[in-house]
């Protein structure tokens, strides 16, 4: 059994669907941060069978985790300070998500404009509907980058 030590300050993202931790690593922009990150793949889980876990040692104000709510509701976010869990963070659907999902409407300007980010805006929070900022095409499953 692999053991990864405690962190002093930062986040533990638990109950990530097995195999998804690397994509979350990218969407959170962790590759751009100069901090210690432990990626644990396929950890044993009673609830899920297998799961991924991300441990991020960083100032807890540096990371915007809202995008997680869009990617996977079931992720548990533990906020760590002085080595202890101080909060189980509730995830809120972000108003806007950038370069996480791709607009697949061939008539949308995002299909041709150079380096234009793919931005989706929360159109209906009750129904969790996101629409492309430019063409308003509704987000469909499997459009994640």
């Amino acid at each position: 059994m692999l053991n990864v030590g405690k962190i002093e300050e930062g986040f533990v993202l638990d109950h990530i669907k097995a195999g998804k931790s690397l994509s979350i690593y990218e969407h959170l922009g962790l590759d751009k941060l100069d901090c210690t990150v432990a990626i644990i793949k396929n950890a044993r889980s009673e609830k899920m069978g297998k799961k991924d876990i991300l441990k991020v040692e960083c100032d807890i104000n540096t990371l915007d985790l809202d995008v997680l709510a869009f990617i996977d509701h079931n992720i548990t976010v533990n906020v760590i300070k002085a080595g202890e869990i101080v909060q189980k963070k509730e995830l809120v659907l972000p108003q806007q998500i950038k370069n996480v999902i791709k607009c697949h409407n061939p008539r949308c300007i995002t299909s041709i404009e150079q380096e234009l980010p793919h931005i989706f805006v929360l159109a209906d929070s009750a129904k969790e509907v996101y629409r492309c900022k430019y063409c308003e095409e509704k987000y469909r499953e499997n459009a994640i980058f």
Partner: protein
């Protein structure tokens, strides 16, 4: 700085002010003949649309301003691969306001994000055509005196017709509106529109035959079955003649019903209807100029 991307960008109150100004211009054009002296409108048309472009050019010219621009993508730097963002940055150096038509949905919005001058969406693919909607609303308000409480029949291509979708979205803001959608099964109004109407408790009916509903209508909005929206020539040929308005059908309509059409017409309104006083589509084109004049003035901050 204000842009116009979507017909709903303006509140009902702001639209009232815009339409008041348009009616004022209609009554007293000489007073407004020089308000844009020294100003330049750039018409950036990445796909051809003679009517909309000329309407903008006429509007700016009648306000005393000047017009520069291009009429299709082949005669612009887009043919060399320039992005919309770069084009608008350059146009911002040349003009005071820009009207942009583009085949890709959202292109004018991309432009507005990088622009130093107001951008008007003059049509972005099948998405929005807000100045057509403003034209439609001004026509109705000018000829009927108000915008609330009407039963509006929309006929023809209700699936791909962006003018129809925009007009529906704009009219639901006025109380007492009721819609009757008249189209073949293949060109029915999209589900998201009917869902929106149900959510807002706006009554609507969907029917196949125009004759059956003519007596109920305060307004009949006819649309062209656009060839470019079809992938397949056979479907186009089969559907284009489905709904033709002629004098026989007009006899079933009320005395004060208005017939509107965004134009160009192909054959969905017989020319014999043109002389009927209820045919308002050419007056509508005239209101299109007035509303664009009022819009240019408003976005340039010259309206007060």
């Amino acid at each position: 700085m204000r842009h116009l991307m979507n017909p709903l960008d303006f509140s009902v109150e702001e639209l009232d002010r815009l339409f008041d100004l348009a009616n004022e211009i209609e009554k007293n054009p000489a007073k407004y003949a020089h308000v844009c002296d020294g100003k330049i409108l750039a018409t950036c048309f990445y796909e051809p649309s003679t009517r909309t472009r000329l309407s903008f050019e006429s509007a700016m010219t009648r306000l005393g301003g000047r017009v520069i621009g291009f009429a299709d993508a082949n005669s612009s730097s887009a043919a060399k691969g320039e992005s919309v963002s770069d084009t608008i940055r350059v146009i911002s150096c040349y003009a005071d306001i820009c009207a942009m038509r583009h085949p890709k949905e959202g292109a004018p919005m991309v432009a507005s994000e990088k622009s130093r001058i107001p951008v008007i969406n003059a049509g972005d693919g099948g998405h929005y055509h807000p100045t057509q909607t403003l034209t439609d609303l001004l026509t109705i308000r000018s000829l009927k005196g108000h915008l609330d409480g009407f039963t509006i029949g929309l006929c023809g291509d209700l699936k791909f017709g962006r003018t129809v979708h925009s007009l529906i979205n704009a009219l639901v803001r006025y109380p007492g509106t009721r819609f009757i959608f008249i189209s073949p099964e293949e060109l029915k109004v999209p589900d998201y529109i009917t869902e929106m109407l149900r959510e807002k408790n706006v009554p609507y009916e969907e029917v196949i035959r125009l004759e059956n509903v003519m007596p109920q209508l305060d307004m009949l909005y006819m649309t062209r079955v656009q060839k470019e929206r079809f992938f397949n020539e056979e479907d186009y040929v089969r559907l284009k003649d489905f709904y033709v308005l002629d004098t026989a059908k007009m006899e079933l309509a009320r005395e004060d019903m208005l017939v509107l059409h965004p134009l160009p017409r192909v054959n969905e309104i017989s020319v014999e209807v043109d002389d009927d006083p209820r045919a308002a589509y050419f007056r509508q084109a005239q209101y299109g100029v007035y509303v664009r004049m009022a819009l240019i003035m408003t976005l340039l901050g010259l309206a007060s």
